[in-house]
């Protein structure tokens, strides 16, 4: 039996939600798609680590170093368990952007190495002109620009799956866009701008059919719904800690162990080596191969606490709560005159990021009126500029509720939109 989300109780766990903004208005935080707020449990865990166990990990012969290493590797196990993964398959990075770069650089680095040391690389990562890389037209820049760069370095061609007017992927083109030339397919699970939840299993299936590797950007799905990385059918899955109640400064890359094994390092230096000579070095096994330098230990501890917090709520309950809020927000927006939703209007295969434009008003001006009511939303192109262009809008306003929001928060946002319309006389 699903235990419903108790918003009033949850809010008490988030100190920032107790503050006021702009002339003493209670904060209505509807910008969790950008970053989520953090509960006490996460703040306490980081602080406790610094107060009791802080030390370098995987080195040093003292008790604190042992405790810090346990905390770091324990966090890895907790976070891996949350997405159905093995700890050895989970790489800590700075954020999802770095995780996606790690994936893209595996290709450009292997391609560069193949010129001088062909035996040192796995051919799956070597690209040449004639090869293609496939993304979609709803990618966050973090899952677009690194692949453009990989193409520029290797001569491969970037292709993309286009969008329907409803904000869904145009899957009729799937088999022609992903073909025998395709070497890697990287797609977003849930769009941060449109809210669309994509059928990544089918897309990954098609990628594997043509022998391509599959990458999923799960930045906006893992914080909001139950996700087992194996179910996605991908080879690599990237996401960030800060959007799921965790601290900033920590991201994740899950990889099938066989694929991680085959990938060359990204950032190199200390901690990621096996042996080092003046002439050359050999590298540690994954995940350490991809964790050069002193890692983000306290952040990993904080993120493990965030994962426990979400686990206690239950991700099914989180998803059900957001589904309700999404349906409510879509309905309320449809009621408003002059408001157009950018993204799916039906609450099916859809997450809680809801973008819209208001006739005659620029999103910046809408956002300003929401801010005046204490409502925090994101305005702009949401790091998905080509997606905005696809829908013929320079920018949108986006509300993105989470576990600490309720229908009353959506109502206040609607009041803000109407206030802006009234003020500008549109």
């Amino acid at each position: 039996m699903l235990q419903p989300i108790d918003v009033d109780r949850i809010r008490k766990d988030f100190p920032i939600l107790q503050r006021t903004v702009r002339d003493n208005r209670p904060l209505v935080y509807l910008d969790s798609g950008a970053t989520s707020q953090k509960p006490m449990a996460v703040l306490d865990a980081e602080r406790a680590f610094y107060e009791t166990s802080n030390a370098g990990v995987h080195r040093g012969a003292h008790q604190l170093a042992e405790e810090a290493t346990d905390a770091y590797e324990g966090a890895r196990a907790t976070i891996a368990g949350f997405v159905g993964a093995q700890p050895a398959e989970l790489v800590f990075t700075k954020n999802a952007t770095e995780s996606l770069n790690l994936a893209a650089y595996a290709f450009s680095n292997a391609t560069a190495k193949a010129v001088h040391a062909p035996d040192s690389v796995d051919r799956r990562f070597v690209l040449s002109p004639g090869d293609s890389i496939v993304v979609t037209q709803m990618e966050h820049h973090a899952n677009l620009v690194p692949w453009q760069e990989a193409c520029a370095k290797t001569g491969a061609t970037l292709r993309w799956i286009g969008l329907t007017d409803e904000g869904r992927l145009d899957l009729e083109a799937l088999d022609s866009v992903i073909d025998e030339t395709t070497r890697v397919v990287s797609v977003v699970h849930q769009s941060n701008i449109l809210g669309t939840i994509n059928p990544v299993q089918a897309i990954m299936g098609r990628a594997h059919e043509v022998g391509a590797l599959g990458v999923v950007d799960a930045c906006q799905s893992i914080p909001h719904m139950p996700v087992d990385v194996h179910d996605l059918g991908a080879d690599l899955v990237a996401w960030s800690g800060h959007k799921m109640l965790g601290p900033t400064g920590i991201g994740l890359l899950w990889g099938r162990s066989e694929v991680l094994q085959a990938m060359p390092p990204f950032v190199s230096g200390g901690s990621m080596i096996e042996t080092v000579f003046m002439e050359h070095s050999t590298y540690a096994e994954p995940p350490k191969r991809f964790e050069a330098g002193t890692p983000m230990v306290a952040q990993s501890v904080g993120l493990a606490a965030a994962v426990r917090y979400l686990d206690d709520l239950g991700m099914d309950a989180v998803a059900a709560h957001e589904h309700d809020l999404t349906g409510y927000a879509l309905g309320q927006l449809e009621e408003l005159r002059g408001v157009r939703i950018i993204g799916p209007r039906d609450n099916v295969d859809r997450g809680s990021a809801v973008s819209f434009v208001v006739d005659g008003l620029h999103p910046h001006d809408v956002g300003q009126f929401l801010d005046d009511k204490g409502v925090a939303v994101r305005v702009g192109h949401h790091c998905a500029w080509p997606t905005c262009r696809r829908f013929g809008v320079p920018a949108t306003t986006r509300i993105s509720p989470y576990i600490y929001n309720d229908r009353a928060d959506i109502d206040i946002a609607m009041e803000g939109i109407m206030a802006a319309q009234k003020f500008f006389g549109v």
């Binding site: 702009r22 002339d23 620029h362 999103p363 910046h364 001006d365 300003q368 009126f369 801010d371 005046d372 305005v379 702009g380 192109h381 500029w385 905005c388 320079p394 920018a395 003020f423 500008f424």
Partner: protein, 154 residues
């Protein structure tokens, strides 16, 4: 400070009824500026008339603050000599960085004094400055006002 103080009537008026919003027939310099965080865009063109006074043309799309600022700017500086235009630009930049504490000089800034409230909203300062940055860049490309720039310390 509330939102109405940000959007003064002058700003709304210029937003709804932009002045001189068109490009020049024969510009000496042009600059296209984009605010990459929100996608606001403005193109400013400049030239000099036979008396050495500024000609200004522009077009753009974006929020009320950026577009009103372009309109106010073009109305203000068109007809100025380049040095006067520079003075106005410096005064406007200073106003934007004043955190709302400045007493803007209407003799120098004209309608642009209405943007004083913008300085209290850091996220909007860039919007207001966008056309002025385009003006500066367009003048530099046209070789207008370079002598003044060279001796300036701002």
């Amino acid at each position: 400070m509330n939102v109405e103080a940000l959007y003064q009537d002058i700003i709304l008026d210029h937003y709804k009824h932009p002045r001189g919003r068109q490009l020049l027939a024969d510009p000496a310099g042009e600059s296209h500026q984009v605010n990459p965080t929100c996608g606001d865009e403005v193109t400013v063109q400049v030239g000099l008339d036979s008396d050495g006074h500024l000609l200004v043309g522009y077009e753009g799309q974006g929020c009320s603050i950026s577009q009103a600022s372009a309109s106010v700017m073009s109305e203000l500086v068109a007809g100025f000599d380049p040095a006067q235009g520079d003075d106005a630009r410096r005064a406007f930049v200073e106003l934007m960085h004043s955190k709302g504490a400045a007493e803007p000089d209407e003799d120098v800034l004209g309608d642009a004094v209405a943007f004083v409230g913008v300085a209290k909203y850091p996220a909007r300062i860039k919007c207001a400055l966008l056309p002025w940055m385009a003006l500066q860049d367009a003048e530099a490309k046209a070789g207008i006002g370079i002598a003044q720039e060279g001796t300036s310390t701002s």
